[in-house]
C-alpha cells in the first residue's frame, strides 16, 4: 500500500497539473516568492474565481522542487519575517513554455468541438 499515492489521489490529476502550471507561471511573472505569496497571487490572477485550499499548495511545491523545476531558499519577507522563497529554474522555465503550449493546443481543439454549428458537413 503506497500511502503517498493514496493520499495524493484524492485531488484530481487535472487540477494537480494545473496547480503546478500556475505556480510556475506565477514565479516567472513575479520572480522569487514565498508560498503564501504564490497562493495569494494565484487567487488574484484567477480573478478570485479559484479558491485554493492553501494546504494543498505545499505538497505541490515539494514535488516541483524534487523534479527540479523550482529551487528554494530561506530569506526574509516584507514584514521582516523568515520565510522560504521559491524561484524558477531554467528547467522550470522550459517546462513552463512547454506546458503552456500544450494547454493552448488543448484549448484550441476543445474550442473547435464546442463551436460545431459553424462547421458544415
Amino acid at each position: 500500500m503506497f500511502i503517498w499515492a493514496s493520499n495524493m489521489g484524492k485531488k484530481s490529476d487535472v487540477w494537480q497539473g494545473t496547480l503546478a502550471l500556475m505556480v510556475l507561471k506565477t514565479l516567472e511573472t513575479m520572480g522569487p516568492m514565498h508560498g503564501y505569496g504564490v497562493a495569494r497571487r494565484i487567487e488574484q490572477t484567477s480573478g478570485d474565481r479559484l479558491l485554493l485550499n492553501y494546504g494543498t499548495l505545499y505538497p505541490a511545491l515539494l514535488k516541483l522542487e524534487q523534479e527540479g523545476y523550482i529551487a528554494s531558499e530561506w530569506g526574509v519577507s516584507e514584514n521582516n519575517r523568515k520565510a522560504k522563497f521559491y524561484m524558477l529554474t531554467r528547467a522550470g522555465q522550459a517546462q513552463l513554455k512547454h506546458e503552456a503550449r500544450e494547454w493552448e493546443e488543448t484549448a484550441d481543439i476543445i474550442a473547435r468541438f464546442l463551436a460545431p454549428e459553424k462547421e458544415s458537413l
Binding site: 503564501y36 497562493a39 523534479e67 527540479g68
Partner: protein, 881 residues
Amino acid sequence: MRKLRALIVRLGGWRGRGRRERELSEELEAHFQMHVEDNLRRGMSAEQARRESALRFGSVDAAKEQVRSGWTVGFLEVTRQDVVYAARGLRRNPVFAVTAVLSVALGIGANVSIYTLADNLLIRPLPYHDPGRLVMVWETNHTRARNEFNVISPANYRDWKAQNNAFESMGAFGDGRGVLDDGRRVEEVRVQYMTSDILPMLGVPAYRGRFFTAAEDLPNTPDVVLISYKLWQSWFGGEEGVIGRSIKFAARPATVIGVMPPGFFFRNREIDVWTAMGLDPARDYRKNGGRGPSCVARLKPNVGFAQAQAQMTAIGQRLEAAYPAFNKNWNVKLEPLRDSMVRKVKTSMWVLLFAVGLLLAVACANVANLLLARHNSRRREMAVRCAIGAGRSRVVRQLLTESLLLAMSGGVLGILLASGAVRGLVALAPRDLVGGATIEIDLRILVFAVALSLLTGIVFGLAPTLAASRADLVTGLREDGRGSIRGNSGLRRLLVAAEVALSVALLAGAGLLFRSLVGLQSVDPGLDANGVLTFRVSLPRARYPEAPRRVEFYQRALEQIRALPGVRAASAIDYLPFRGMAAGTHIFIAGRPPAKPGEELVSTIRTVTPGYFQAMGIPLRSGRDFSAADNTVESPYRFVVNESFARQYLAGEQPLGAQISAKMQDANPFGEIIGVVGDVKEGAVDQLPSPTIYYVHAHMGSGQMVFVVRANGDPRLLAEPARHVIRGLDGAQPVAEVELMETVVRETFSRQRFSALLMVGFSLVSLLLAAVGIYGLLAYTVTERTREFGVRVALGAAPGRITALVLGMGARLVLGGTIAGLAGAMALSSLLKTMLFGVGAHDLATFALVPVVLAGVALLAAYLPARRASRLAPLDALRAE
C-alpha cells in the same frame, strides 16, 4: 526524466528528516502568520483573522502529512520504519537477541562450512571442458570385489581404442615419481605419464608452450615434459625462458615444452610434471605385462553413458574370448570422472550435509520458540497497533521484518564463523580428501549463505506471524491478556519436542560413528608403528641400469643406517603397508594341478630386505626371516608368507618348506617358504588381510624402496643422519616422503575420524540449543503459572512437590521428543552402514545411551526453572500478574 530525478531525490529522503520537519513547521507557521497579518490589515479582528486563515489553509496536519509522505518512497519508508523498530526492539531485549542471533549463526555457520567443503569436492564442475562427458575406463573382475575398478592393461587399452565407437578420444595415464634436476636443484617430484590424447581431451590450454604430440609419445624419442605453474614459479622464478630449457628428469635429459595453468590438476593435485607415456606400439603388453595404467575417455557428443557401457562390455567379452589366459573373468567398467574422484567420500559428505541440515532445523526451532515467547509478551502491543489503524498485514510485515533482521544478522555472523571454520575443517580433513585443493568461501557460496539466511528467517518467522494472524484482538487488549496463551504454548511445546527429536537423531549418529572410530583404532594393525621413521629412495633406471648395483646400493645404505646411533633396526620395503598400493599376481603351489583360467590363486607381493619384520614389529610366527645370504642375486629363491596365505592356500599343511612361485618376472622359479609372519591389516583395517608373499630384495632388484627405521628414541631425529648417509652414497640422490609410520597408519582412519568428530560437534551444538529451548519453555511456563504455584504452596504443597511438578513438565517434553528422535534415528541409521565398523546400525548400547545423555541435559536445563518455582513466596506469587 524529471520523474526519475524526483525518485532519486526521494530515495535519499530519509536523511535530514529532523531538519526538514523543523523547516516545514516554520514555513507553514510563517504562512499562517502572514495570512493573519493580511487579514488584520483588512480590518478583521484578531479572532476573525485567525479563524479565516485557519479555514482557508485547511488541515495543517493533513498538509504536513502529505508533504512528509512526499519526502520518501512509500515502500522503502515503511520498510525503514520496520527495520528501525525491529532493531530497537532487539536492543531492548539483549538476551533474546543474542540467543536468537547466536542460534542462527551456529546453524548457518555450520551449514556454510560443510557446504563449502561439499561444493569443492562434489558439486563444483571439474575444471575441464565439458567435464560431464569424461569417463574413466576401468577393467573389472566380477569374481573379485577388490578388483571392481581395476587399473588396465595397455594391450586391452589399445584394442578398446581401436574397436570402440562411443568415444571421441581415449587416453592412458599413470602416476609416478621422478627426480627432477635443473642443474641447481635436485628433488623428487610427482609425475603423471600420459598418452598424447589426454591433455587435448581435457580441453584446458597450456599456459605457456604446448602439449606433446603423438610422435613424441613413442619410446626412444627425446623426453619432453610439461611443468605445473607452481613448479614454474618456485623452481624457475616464472621466467619465460623456461620453454625449451633442458633439464634432467629421471636421470635422462628432457626438454621443458610447456607450463600448465595455475591450479590445473588431473585426479591428483600433487603432480608437478607431465610427460609422455611412451607405450611401445611394437610390444605385446599381454606377454610379460600386467595391469598398471588407468584410462580416461571422452564420450562422443551423441552417445550416452549407458550406451557406451553396453558397447564396451561387448568389446570386453570379445577380448575375454580372444585372450583367455589374460582376460578370463575380466571386462570393462565405465565410471564418470567425477564419481571416480569422490567415490570414497560421497557417503560421508552427504551424511554430514544432512546432519548439518538437521542442526539448522534445530536452530530454527529454537529461534521460532524464542520469537513465540516474545510475541506472547507483545500481544497487547499488537492489539493496540491494530486498534489504531495498522492493518493486520502491516503488523505481520513488522514481525516478518524482525525475523529477517534476526536471520540476516545471524547469517552475517554465521558466514564469519564459517570462514574460520572452513580453515579448521581443511586442516582436520583427511589428506586424500582435500589434498592441495584451495577450499575457500567464494561468491557463489556467499550467495548461498545469504539465501539460506533469508529462507531461515522466513521459516522461523512463520511461527509468530501465524500466531499473530490468528490472534484475537479483543482478548489481547484485555487486562489479563495472558489467559489466551494456551493456544501458543502447544506450538512451543511441539517445537521443543522437535528440537529434542532432532538432537537425539544427531546424537545417535555421532555415537555410532564415534564407536566405529574407536573400534577401528583399537584393531591391532599387525605391526608396531610407534617409533618408526620411513623415507623413500628411488634410484633412476638411467643411472642404475643393472639390478646388482641397485641391490648393492640399498645394502650399503642399510649397513650404514644400522650403524647410526639411536637406530634399533632398519630395513626396506617396496611399498609401505597402509598406503593402499602393492603388487599382486597369480601364484602357483608346487604339486597342485594348474588352475583353470579365471580360478588362479592370487596373492599380494611385497619386496623386502632382510630384517624388515623386526623393524616393523611384525611378529614371526614360524620359521625364519631372510638373511644376508638370502639377499644375493645368485641365491635360490626363498619366500616368507603371511598367516593369511598359509591359512587360505596351505590349510592343513605345514607351510614351511612348501614350494611356491609367483608370476612376477620373466623367469619365476619355485622357491621354498622359509617363514610365516603375522598378518598386517593393511589396505583397510576392516577388511580381511590378503594373502601375501614376501620376496627378498635381491631377486626383484627393485629401485624404489622405502626405508623403515626403528629408533630407540625419537625417530624424527634420525631423518637428517639418514639423509646424510644416502647423500654420502650418491650425491644426486634425494630422499623423499620422510614420514613417521604412526602418521601413515593414522591417515587410514582420517576419514572416519573426520566424520566422527564433526558429527560429535554438531550433536553437541544441537544439544546446547535444545537445552536452551527446554530451559526457555520451562522458565516461561513457570512465570505463567506463578499464581497457580502460589496457590499450591499456600494450600500446603512442599517446595519439593513444586520442583517435581516442573521437572515432570520437562520430562514429558523430552520423552515425546526422544521417542520420536529414536524412531527416526533407527530408521535413518541404516544409511550409515557403509561408514560403520564393528558396530551395527541399530547398536543397542548407542541407542540406549543417547536418551540417557539427553535426559541428563534436559534435567540440567529444567533444574533452574524448577528451583525458581519451588522458591516462590506464595504471597508474591498470588499477587503476580
